[in-house]
Symmetry: C2
């Protein structure tokens, strides 16, 4: 764990969440809380503490970009419906100054997007220097729903894994820290969460009949995720599988991954790019 | 004041801040706190209360967009350097779910942008349905710095006011509530704030020697703002001049303008666009 001021973790969760060679999704618990011994109340306190740390680190990242530091972060969020991608954005990413966040939610591709290579639309939303980019869904949909629903020929799907690795390597070469997160939810908890959306009128808008259609394909999606991990887990662009049955755990875990990535950058305030004494004199004369 | 749950205002500030026919910028105090009798401590409490209200209203706006409601908000922020645009984003806009915010900071136009009409780049960033768009600087730079620094021929500048009014009318016809805010700072307070940036190494990155160059043109900028108000104040796309010497006042005032705009929309949770009983049965069968 890079040095930071987080006090709630008993051990660094990152290594335990990270997908390593031989990883099997089906072996991973969806209700575990690796590295965290507290419960919801402690997680609430941890999230608040982490928000302050994250906000401070992000401001330094942003500040350095003004004097030429090209570094940026891309957080990729993938999951089955109701796993909590939106909650991560609302409760974790919201701690960061909106000026420093580039959030993009990928929907089904438009006709124009379909007329291009699958990475075309993704490239248009990669974060610039000093930014934290957040992809709510991503290019991985092109090997998840596309594979499960046969939206492209099998050889085209096969080719995409390599294309994704090459694309992410480009981002890394452009000083991007790539953090890929799969929120790992159980089939039963998804049912509970969908049922809640159908029970509460203020949640109807989050429900889509298509959610049940996708749910019926659950095993195929789990298989497709396993292939994603087998083919696109790289040292430079790691995947993290975050247990998501407990929303509070998933939030502090993803927050930690962001804090850890920023802490490893060893950010400090940038030096003045001007002569401070000269500028003080110029200002005094006005 | 539209009905809302805000409790800290003694009277609706919106009417007092709004630019009306005959408005003179030079008559407006920069250190007043119209509608608010408290001081900084009360403003902190008001900001926290308002954040909860704003967040709840925005979620309804967003939810309705999913079932075809086309409404959206565009907040335009204009000001002299150090007046607090960034603070508004960081402390007011940050209350809103990042998924519902479209923030864009306009810089000096690129070569590609310069090769097009001045509104070309602006159109690319207008908010979509359900979103709160925030422009940190805007098309008004094209009649502010462009006028003060003669970046375009006088007849071209003259033509832009009409183009801006037509453009904003288009946005309004597309169900956009347009809120234009000028943060009104005094010449002396700007000096203090620039001096602070030169005194504190963690603030150096916010300082640019060009800030003093612009400061030396202060009267010309005030005149250019006056022309903006004379020419682009409309009933449908009002300007609000918000005293900004006290940062805490400017923040709660802009927050109030957003809350007020959302309250006037009479938002409720959208009805289900599917048969709830049918969906419950489908889900139960999985």
């Amino acid at each position: 764990m890079a040095k930071s001021s987080e006090t709630f973790w008993t051990e660094d969760p990152a290594e335990g969440l990270r997908v390593m060679p031989g990883f099997q999704l089906s072996d991973r618990a969806t209700d575990a809380t690796p590295g965290f011994q507290g419960r919801k109340a402690e997680a609430t306190a941890a999230l608040a503490e982490g928000a302050t740390i994250l906000s401070g680190l992000q401001e330094k990242l942003f500040a350095n970009s003004r004097s030429g530091d090209n570094r940026k972060i891309l957080l990729v969020l993938q999951a089955m419906d109701t796993a909590g991608k939106g909650g991560i954005v609302r409760h974790v990413v919201s701690a960061v100054d909106p000026q420093g966040v580039d959030h993009y939610a990928f929907k089904a591709p438009t006709d124009e997007e379909r007329a291009h290579d699958f990475l075309w639309r993704v490239r248009r939303h990669v974060p610039g220097a000093g930014m934290i980019g957040v992809f709510d869904r991503s290019h991985y949909e092109d090997v998840l729903i596309a594979r499960v629903r046969h939206l492209a020929p099998p050889d085209e799907i096969e080719a995409r894994y390599g294309a994704i690795n090459a694309f992410e390597q480009e981002l890394i070469d452009d000083d991007t820290t790539v953090i890929k997160v799969m929120l790992h939810l159980s089939f039963d908890v998804q049912k509970d969460r969908l049922a809640e959306r159908l029970d509460r009128p203020e949640k109807y808008w989050k429900y889509n009949p298509g959610d049940v259609d996708e749910r019926m394909l659950w095993p195929a999606y789990q298989d497709a995720y396993q292939v994603v991990f087998d083919r696109t887990q790289t040292e430079a662009a790691p995947w993290y599988v975050v247990p998501a049955d407990k929303k509070w755990y998933a939030r502090i875990a993803v927050q930690h991954l962001l804090i850890d990535a920023l802490s490893r950058m060893n950010l400090d305030w940038p030096a003045a790019t001007f002569d401070v004494a000269v500028e003080k004199a110029r200002l005094a004369a006005t």
